[in-house]
């Protein structure tokens, strides 16, 4: 599997993402600078986390208008897989590749901790190595992760099975106590209509070995490797 990681001014999870991809897929991803207008040949494009442009104005807003994003959009339309983590998710909503918006956390605070997520379906390239029966544990670290979409959009996402992950309790209940940021429907990640673009607030790349406190992030990259290796 060939992957590319896009780097913007203020990206700060780019190295973590590169390390996780290389370690798990056995292949060094290509790094692409935000001013590029072309993407290298690849099966997976990753928009890493960070505070691009300081998250000034709106999180992800300015990065979403970078030259490279037009190429990412085009690649997504051509069927490549795109993964946006945290700030990358915010960029995907800002470009319109994914619906809705990510607003300030309900209690207005930055929040860094491990959360439990339900895997809503495991028939996508991103989740095929997960079981839907058991919540996974992944860290979040964000200030603007409060997912908002209007009723109609929300109903469409739910109806089309496009919710990827939900914040749940350890036992798997998607209730208010498990919701760290006020997201509607406890949504932590969503898919595009063809299930090839995934945006998520939690950071799978940060929990890929027991020394870091767990390895529930690993199956995402293993699944992608399996699905996208040609």
């Amino acid at each position: 599997m060939k992957s590319a990681v896009i780097i913007f001014p203020g990206s700060n999870c780019d190295r973590d993402t590169l390390v996780a991809l290389e370690r798990i897929t056995g292949r060094k991803p290509t790094q692409v600078w935000h001013t590029e207008t072309d993407l290298p040949e690849c099966d997976l494009v990753v928009l890493p986390g960070g505070f691009t442009y300081g998250d000034y104005l709106r999180a992800g807003a300015m990065a979403a208008r970078s030259p490279v994003m037009a190429a990412v959009k085009k690649r997504a339309e051509d069927g490549a897989h795109v993964l946006g983590i945290c700030n990358g998710f915010q960029m995907l909503t800002e470009t319109g590749l994914l619906p809705g918006a990510l607003m300030r956390n309900a209690d207005l605070k930055f929040l860094c901790k491990d959360v439990h997520l339900s895997v809503e379906r495991n028939d996508t390239a991103f989740t095929r190595k997960y079981a839907t029966s058991k919540p996974i544990r992944i860290p979040i670290a964000h200030h603007d992760g409060n997912y908002f979409a209007d009723d109609e959009t929300l109903a469409r996402l739910e109806g089309e099975g496009r919710v990827a992950f939900r914040y749940v309790t350890k036992e798997g209940a998607p209730n208010e106590d498990a919701n760290p940021n006020g997201s509607r429907g406890n949504i932590a990640g969503i898919y595009s209509d063809d299930l090839r673009v995934l945006g998520m607030m939690p950071h799978p790349e940060r929990l890929i070995e027991p020394a870091l406190g767990g390895s529930d992030g690993r199956p995402m990259f293993e699944g992608l490797l399996e699905a996208l290796s040609s």
Binding site: L57, A61, A101, M103, R104, A106, L108, F148, D150
Partner: protein, 81 residues
């Protein structure tokens, strides 16, 4: 020419910042305050001197960057001073 853009959340979009302010005002003992909303105001200095052209340019900036029209509305004021 100066332009002033107000960006506010659309009706029906939850406003966490406004909600938090409302709650805190209550905690501080201010009563009778409801429906607090927080928006942005962006001020720009434009070289353009023609009002119609300036307005069109600022509208473009709003659509392309300053507002997220999925959740936000914007209004533009121009000030020739």
């Amino acid at each position: 020419m100066k332009a002033r853009v107000h960006v506010t959340l659309k009706n029906g979009v939850l406003d966490p910042q406004g909600k938090a302010i409302e709650k805190t005002l209550g905690n501080l003992g201010f009563s009778g305050v409801g429906d607090v909303r927080q928006g942005k105001v962006i001020e720009l200095d434009l070289e353009e001197t023609d009002a119609a052209k300036a307005e069109a340019a600022v509208k473009d900036m709003c659509e392309q960057l300053l507002a997220n029209t999925v959740i936000e509305n914007y209004t533009i004021e121009l000030d020739a001073a």
